[in-house]
Symmetry: C2
Subunit: 231 residues, 2 copies
């Protein structure tokens, strides 16, 4: 039986708290809008924007640029006209400054002792590097849609991790708080670990954290996953 050697992590929502981080930054700008609602609206634009890239309607576009396009729409939607171009650029970079969930830094450092730990995120490399450096996420390697020129759930992303490390697909475990990401990973032969993030969309919008029984692991946090894996 093939042992797992590589842990590939989804990042937004699984390792970092996009909702809380964005809500706090938006609240601090005193724009007279609800930060949590703003965060939800911004994130809601993410899949449609990526879909436009995946369908070929948009050429290859980094998440930073997709986020900026959505931000402009969301600002209009919320009737915010007071931000300068420089303030908008800075706000768009909030995705580089997302705060980790409280267990993430320690959990990753423990898992790193025994496994190769990498990202497998639709976030671009610069975003992932800035995020990791700011708070100390100890990745061994950043892998991104940017490397494979395809967004998850394209098979080139999941299978790309195995190819980069020259291992069979089943030597890679995808770790995510999103069952659809794990279902895709499993369909290409990867192992899967579900992480519970009930407050991914804010405490006011608790998320179903049942996960699928098909997952190889199910853990309440990255530290709990480390414990399950003997780290």
């Amino acid at each position: 039986m093939q042992e797992v050697e590589i842990l590939a992590f989804d990042v937004f929502g699984t390792v970092v708290d996009w909702h809380g981080s964005i809500a706090r930054e938006v609240e601090a700008l005193n724009l007279g809008v609800d930060g949590g609602e703003f965060a939800l609206a911004w994130r809601a634009g993410y899949r449609p924007a990526m879909q436009r890239v995946m369908s070929g309607e948009l050429g290859w576009t980094l998440i930073d640029d997709l986020h900026r396009g959505i931000l402009d729409d969301v600002l209009a939607q919320f009737g915010i006209t007071s931000l300068t171009e420089s303030q908008k650029r800075n706000l768009n970079r909030v995705w580089h400054r997302l705060e980790p969930w409280p267990d993430a830094v320690e959990g990753l450092s423990r898992l790193k002792q025994r496994f190769m730990i990498c990202t497998l995120s639709n976030g671009n490399l610069g975003l992932l590097a800035n995020m990791a450096k700011r708070v100390g996420l100890a990745w061994d390697c950043l892998l991104s849609a940017e490397v494979f020129r395809q967004y998850k759930p394209h098979p080139d992303t999941y299978l790309g991790v195995a190819q980069v490390f020259d291992v069979p697909a089943e030597a890679v475990m995808m770790v995510a708080a999103h069952q659809d990401d794990l279902d895709s990973a499993r369909s290409y032969g990867l192992k899967t670990a579900y992480i519970e993030r009930p407050n991914e969309f804010g405490a006011a919008n608790p998320k179903d954290i049942a996960g699928s029984p098909a997952n190889d692991r199910h853990a309440g946090s990255i530290i709990a996953l480390a414990e399950q894996l003997g780290c």
Copy 2:
């Protein structure tokens, strides 16, 4: 004046000692050949092999696979027929196990406090990740020809670093023990730092370490570079 934010390191010869590492592994195999000569022959095949990729004669090929093709030639050249396929595969992976120069781990850790530190290597991502993890090279991000689908000195590699981090070219400093690499980097607007590695080809074959006066920095080691840059 643009400050340097990103340090992009050449790896083979600059951060790790390919000659000494390969010579030692080959000597340990007791093949009756001089390990240092074997290392030189293996490395000598590197540029011609890459040239075949860059000219389009060969399709895109990872360094791991180029190294294996050259290894087969070098084994024949040295009249070595005793290795099994598994032994050859393992020997080819010596490039994942190259030892750092004595100053590299500490020097990088110091530079990391103040700069984004990344590789810019023709080595593939899996190779760079395995190498870094084994000895503790504290990269913030691995960038490789594999990310840009071009080998150095193609401009997409040097300029790709600036694009990944969304900074002007002059915010990136290329760090290398090879003047030709630095000359290319500078021609595309990057800053340059030369690191002296007089024994890159073995103590018996001392290398010219004068460097060009056009470099922004010239240092005897990565620790010395850290000191020059106030780290």
